[in-house]
Amino acid sequence: MSEFGHKLIDGSESSLKSFLDNLPGVDKVGAEGRAAMLGTRSIKTTSKARAIDLAISMVDLTTLEGADTPGKVRSLCAKALRPDPTDSTVPHVGAICVYNDMVKVARDYLDSIGGQSIPVAAVSTAFPSGRASMEVKLRDTQDAIESGASEIDMVIDRGAFLSGKFGSVFDEIKEIKALCGEKAHLKVILETGELATYDNVRKASYLAMLAGADFIKTSTGKVSPAATPPVVLVMLEAVRDFFALTGKKIGVKPAGGIRTTKDAIKQLVLVNETTGPEWLTPKLFRIGASALLNDLLMQRMKLSNGRYSSANYVTVD
């Protein structure tokens, strides 16, 4: 079907179901074993320094609290642009990720401090549950785009997915994607912690990609477990294989639970050894996080001056 740029399905629910049900299964123990093995990779010295900067540039610096205020968002934007105020060699982060009502605050502030190149991502479509009518979801998305969001992090309807209504999930993504058009990149949040099995993670990944996602994202950050290495592995495999089938490169965004440099580097190793280094760019890999950035900065200081750093030397969010 040409509107998706591939011929894997014809757009009908039956062709979608048949495609998804014919995907090979994932063996849990095998997938977890592979992820655990890659977790033993030892990234030292030069490669560690590169990995830290790469990870910083991939962070979607996130605040998604009911207590968020314009002040908090602005301070986050400042940090996004200059993660370490004392060191200009630190790259800026991949994006700022906020609730809809903070999009304009973030966009305006970033623009005012020279952060025009940093996109603002909005969590839309009745985030985090997705439990709203399609009309509301579309309006929500429209609102975010109008406020200046150039990335939309939408949630799928997990209830529909789990009850086998693949067509309904597919249509929602397709409609949101149509709304995003050229104005915004679409990240589709699978909320893997609610999908229960790796088989479902694989199916949901393909479902999102078939429907037009630019990125597939693990989690809202509101549900645990979130971006575990095996989940990300399964998603990376899906992205790799989708590329082989269609020639389209889809991005991956683990979010939730990635708090330390070690966690982040494990994610980069997963990318490096699954999709390969072509995905090691903020264009195709993002890490949704908040506390992670400070740990990356502290590790970066340790590498440059040889001392273990202190939380006093990184900014509080």
């Binding site: 849990k28 123990v29 095998g30 229960a196 099995t197």
Partner: protein, 279 residues
């Protein structure tokens, strides 16, 4: 006066009763020197044919349910019971023992078939099991039959001697090539008649009569034979048989007379299967 109809004692291969392909036989006399029979003097080619028959019967017999094998072994006991008089007569004639000794031997043999019949569906339970692995795997071990097992029958106690070797071997699902007692082969051939009329599939048991010294080396070196019970061979030959068997690492054992689970397990292999656990 009525002339007896004398029985021709032939080999038992693949469910048929052929003469030796070599055309040879040997004369068997009782203790007083009276002629009894001319059993076949099996050749290496007969042995080869017997192994082929045993090999082709293995798949069906080993994959039959253990319950089914048990019933068939029990059926053999039933058939034997019905033919007690024939076996008693043959044992008396060849071994020169009293009626009660011969009868006791037949009864003991029948009881032994019954004992092993009951084993067939217990072996995996007593000797297999699950293994607690330090990881997310289900792991179990089961005993499986080896394949083709040669059984060299005892030179004494014509029926009981061969039953000791044969019953445990086939109870687990092996198929057998039995080299009968050279001096006391009649029970072996009569047992073949029992087998032919019980439900044991053709080829599961094959019986050769003749010269042990001629047949054993071919059995020991045959690459399609997986194990040998050498309890009935001359002990002096043990080393030679084992050496000949090393070319395919045959499992070769000699046993005491007791009936035992060990006799069954000696001709089985343990298979261990792993599978991950997870959704």
């Amino acid at each position: 006066m009525r002339i007896d109809v004398m029985k021709t004692y032939k080999l038992y291969i693949g469910g048929a009763f052929p003469r030796s392909e070599s055309g040879r036989s040997y004369e068997l006399k009782d203790k007083k020197g009276n002629f009894i029979a001319n059993p076949a003097l099996a050749s290496r080619k007969d042995l080869r044919d017997a192994v082929v028959a045993a090999k082709s019967a293995f798949s069906g017999w080993s994959y039959a349910t253990a319950y089914n094998r048990g019933q068939i072994l029990y059926r053999m006991a039933e058939m034997l019971e019905g033919r007690t008089e024939q076996f008693v007569a043959e044992i008396k004639a060849l071994e020169g023992v009293t009626d009660s000794v011969a009868r006791k031997q037949v009864q003991d043999s029948i009881d032994l078939w019954v004992w092993y019949a009951g084993w067939s569906d217990k072996i995996s339970t007593t000797s297999g099991g699950t293994n607690p692995i330090a990881g997310p795997y289900y792991n179990f071990t089961i005993p499986e039959p080896l394949g083709v097992v040669g059984v060299i029958a005892d030179e004494k106690e014509s029926l009981l001697g061969l039953t000791r070797g044969l019953a445990p071997v086939i109870a687990s699902g092996n198929t057998a090539v039995l080299i009968a007692s050279e001096k006391l082969p009649l029970s072996a051939i009569s047992l073949a008649e029992v087998i032919a009329t019980s439900d044991l599939p053709s080829g599961v048991v094959n019986i050769l009569t003749g010269s042990k010294s001629e047949l054993i080396p071919w059995l020991a070196s045959h690459m399609e034979v997986d194990g040998i019970d050498i309890s009935g061979a001359d002990k002096k030959l043990d080393g030679e048989i084992k050496k000949a068997g090393t070319e395919n690492l045959k499992r070769i054992y000699r046993f005491e007379k007791d009936a035992s689970l060990k006799r069954i397990l000696s001709f089985m292999e343990y298979k261990t299967v792993w599978h991950p656990i997870g959704i």
